[in-house]
Amino acid sequence: MIKTDILIIGAGPTGLFTVFEAGLLKMKCHLIDALAQPGGQCAEIYPKKPIYDIPGFPEILAGELVDNLMNQCKQFEPGFTLGERADKFKKLDDGTFIVTTNKGTKHHAKIIAIAGGLGSFEPRKPILENLQRYEDNGVNYIIKDPQKFKNKSVVIAGGGDSALDWTIYLADICKSVTLVHRRNEFRGALDSVDKVIELKNKNKVNVITPAEIIKLHGKEKLEKLTIKINNDLEKEISTDFFIPLFGLSPKLGPLSEWGLEIEKNAIKVDTFDYQTNIPGIFAIGDINTYKGKLKLILCGFHEATLMCQSAYKILNPGKNLILKYTTVSGVQGFDGTKKEAEKAVVKSINS
């Protein structure tokens, strides 16, 4: 069981900044994120896009902002449970919470801060009859263990980086790899496209474009697919696996069943401290809603800061708290580091 003061669900910019603000008040944080790396949308969807409205940064790439936030909070030694989705929560008699992920990892905390952005990123599924029947029975949306596909035949659909990257990777270990895309052009890193062309020329992978999968067949498990080529010719091919890679889309998912008050696909909070209708559970950043809400990173930072004041009072009942300025007090990390302003040199002119 992972124990922490504040359990943050979502490791995007707001979640990462919460670690810093909580750290200033000596509260320890642990973050859960469905993605494999911290940074949320900034890291997953648009790391190379510039952001122009982070105060003090005329222009910063989303990926750089994440790197900076990681750097800023690292002395407070946050813990991470990555690649897992917070699924269930239970409130214990003493008012603390247990949060369990989809992989069964349990976390114990007195405070939960939901900083889940637009929700957890789930694979976008193609619209195909019987798709559900073959899920985990020949159809996979996420490749967790590539060895599962060793010496098997695989059909990948999609035109982005992940479709290209997995085609390249699996070409080495699978019996056959077929990449199917609706267009002749691929949207991915140029060297990945070149590599796939090279593999195709060496007959190591099949590339079928413009084409799409229109039917799945098989009794117990997936056995065959129907591919429609050039919007005309239909062809059946045998395969062990079908891996549709059409990107990710955010879903509120299991959080919507926690008993939180939901409005407009977001969690309603009190603007005093961004607490939800469940005492001890806060919601900050893009995932919350209140009158006048703006989904901006800078608003998430503000909400995180205010939330930490209330969290402190819950964790330290009876203790008074006064806002401290980092310029005055410096920053004392949990790792033993201390950052502080240099003292001004005082020297008399007449001495």
């Binding site: 949308q41 969807i45 648009y46 896009k49 637009l118 976008r124 193609p126 619209i127 999609g158 035109g159 982005g160 895309h181 609706r182 267009r183 052009e185 949207r187 059409f246 990107g247 889309s249 955010p250 509120l252 407009k264 696909n265 977001a266 809603t289 989904k295």
Partner: protein
Amino acid sequence: MDDISISIKDRKGKIHSVSAPTDMAMNLMELVRSYEIEEEGTIGTCGGMAMCASCQCYILSAHQIKEMEDDEEAMLSEAFFVKDNSRLSCQISITKDLDGLEFEIAPAS
């Protein structure tokens, strides 16, 4: 007066005739959100970067709309429910020549 009229068919088939400003650098996705025509969180989830296709629409009137750029075309090639008149509404800026435009919001996916 810098406003134009636009007709939007929502996902349930209801038609909304709205007034759209041409001087606010707004796009059609933002117009839909500003009138709260679809539930927040189901349209424009990437914020308008042509990266999610949640704002896909079908252009119903005969207006000449600026051609797709590569990112829009690529995103639509991976989207669902795509038709010949599909566009990403976040990529279409509201300009005076779009007065009288009619479009339909594609199903959520």
